[in-house]
């Protein structure tokens, strides 16, 4: 490149409000624009020397910058980096630099063009936003005008459910439910969660993730089945791709209009039961920023033995502005759907017939009574030796938590009386 002012490229480079430099194919610097020279205070000649330029980079950023540039130069690929550069006033400011190769018709690299933009103010505000974002009781994310999301706060990630990052822009959301009860079911759910995480980190798509977990479940616990919904949200593409294995579809609320719908899904059968060659269809949805996605288990929709009504209530609650404005939308949804309704409890494994539970204040103590039609049992204060045993663990936990537990048996059934570890506060006069 020549510095002849008639050269169109140089004219442009001299007019733009950021740093521009050009590097020859052999790595030597050929040109720096006026803005770079003005900022650094270097002369045209000084700015061509690697040592002079390098000396202006903050010592903490220098090695990383050299490594990134060397790798790009070696592979002839574009690169981007942020670093602090000292100005003529001896103050460091943050710059975002992008360097890209120029190629001739044969594809050979002839030069490299670099640009550097002052992002000091942006970084300062980003740091502030990050600090604020993690402490404020709000769902917060920061995106650039082009839609690239730079930041999600912890509440945002927590609200979306069981999520984890598999890259800074790729999140896996999953929810599952083992069909069964007890410790074995809980252990199986752990297996499934780890299976999903492992498959996702290998870069697999939702359908392949579910297929891997189906195979693992068949191998590890052939008598249990499970449902799962897996979604991968790519925040660069503003798109969510998902698949289901027998799990209720997630519900989506769009911003602005507040429209809600269940995500279209063609579920495969529950995990652990897939016939050979099963692969669920992966669907995609383009949730705009500000959308809410609610993932849930059938416990929320079947509380009244009516899944159709349950789904309608979820959509209705999700449409409510209060759900959107809530600092804990998941809890809001749960309370809105279940509130005031009888929840059917199917925990009846250990006792025949109906179970009655009642809590009452006795003085300042809260006492819980559980009455069933069983023939009583000998309470043990020890954990069962068999870690997977269903007998004795519950009583052990209750006994450990309660101040006192009494078990009495009669012809009518068994009465467990537990004094809970809470104390009623005296009312203010």
């Amino acid at each position: 490149m020549t510095t002849d002012p008639t050269d169109l490229a140089v004219t442009i480079a001299e007019g733009v409000p950021y740093h521009v430099w050009v590097v020859r194919a052999d790595g030597s610097v050929e040109y720096n624009n006026r803005q770079f020279l003005d900022y650094t205070g270097l002369s045209e000649q000084q700015a061509l020397a690697d040592a002079q330029r390098s000396e202006l980079v903050h010592p903490d950023d220098r090695d990383a910058l050299v490594a990134r540039w060397s790798a790009a130069f070696e592979t002839q690929a574009s690169c981007e980096m942020e670093f602090r550069l000292r100005g003529r006033d001896d103050r460091y400011r943050w710059f975002l630099a992008r360097v890209a190769p120029l190629r001739d018709a044969a594809g050979e690299v002839t030069r490299w063009v670099g640009t550097g933009v002052d992002i000091d103010g942006l970084r300062e505000s980003a740091e502030w936003m990050r600090g604020f974002g993690e402490t404020a009781p709000l769902l917060i994310w920061v995106s650039r005008p082009d839609g690239f999301v730079e930041f999600w706060n912890r509440r945002m990630i927590d609200f979306t459910g069981v999520t984890f990052e598999i890259s800074p822009w790729r999140l896996v959301l999953s929810v599952g439910d083992v069909i069964g009860k007890g410790v074995n079911a809980a252990a199986t759910m752990s297996l499934i969660r780890h299976g999903i995480r492992f498959a996702a980190q290998r870069g697999q798509e939702p359908a392949e993730i579910l297929k891997a977990v189906d195979a693992a479940l068949k191998a590890e616990n052939p008598d249990l089945t499970a449902t799962a919904f897996v979604a991968i949200m790519d925040i660069r593409e503003s798109r969510i791709r998902y698949a289901s294995a027998g799990h209720p579809p997630a519900a989506l609320r769009l911003p602005l209009t507040g429209r809600t719908r269940l995500l279209d899904v063609e579920p495969a059968p529950p995990l652990g039961t897939w016939p050979a060659n099963t692969l669920p269809r992966v669907a995609a949805a383009p949730p705009a920023y500000g959308s809410l996605i609610a993932m849930y288990t059938d416990g929320l929709t079947e509380f009244d033995r009516d899944p159709i009504e349950g789904e309608r209530l979820i959509l209705e609650a999700l449409r409510d502005e209060a759900a959107y404005a809530s600092t804990n939308p998941a809890r809001y949804l749960r309370d809105a759907v279940l509130g005031g309704r009888r929840v059917h409890d199917d925990v009846v494994r250990h006792a025949p017939g109906p179970i009655e539970m009642r809590a009452e204040w006795q003085g300042s103590d809260l006492v819980l009574h559980v009455l069933d039609r069983g023939r009583g049992f000998a309470p043990s204060l020890e954990l069962p030796l068999d870690g997977l045993s269903e007998n004795g663990r519950g009583f052990f936990i209750v006994n450990a938590l309660a101040r006192r537990v009494d078990v009495t048996a009669s012809r009518q059934g068994t009465h467990v009386r537990a004094v809970l570890p809470v104390t009623r506060k005296a009312r203010a006069a």
């Binding site: 069964g180 089945t225 027998g246 579920p267 059968p269 529950p270 016939p275 033995r305 009516d306 899944p307």
Partner: protein, 92 residues
């Protein structure tokens, strides 16, 4: 399909009566019809037994009368692994 072994169930099928369900299914050793026309609720335990039955005997047709039961089966993806009909006549 008329000659297939058949089980007719009724009421709410859940954890409380899964042992009865297991006993009925244990008697099936080949393709079968499970009539859910009078079933009002299926919990996950009952769905698990249906899935295990299908895996063991190969083919199972479900007779479903209620929209709620049909929705439950659709959600869990049984539409692709079971033959689901609205009444026994459809079985031919």
């Amino acid at each position: 399909m008329q000659s297939l072994a058949s089980v007719r169930l009724a009421g709410e099928l859940d954890l409380s009566n899964v042992s009865i369900l297991r006993a009925k299914f244990a008697a099936l050793d080949g393709p079968a019809v499970v009539d859910l026309s009078d079933v009002t609720y299926l919990d996950s335990t009952a769905l698990n037994e249906l899935a295990l039955l299908r895996r063991r005997v190969g083919a199972v047709a479900l007779v479903v009368g209620s929209a709620n039961i049909r929705r439950t089966l659709d959600i869990v993806g049984f539409s692709t692994s079971f033959r689901i009909v609205a009444n026994r006549e459809e079985l031919g």
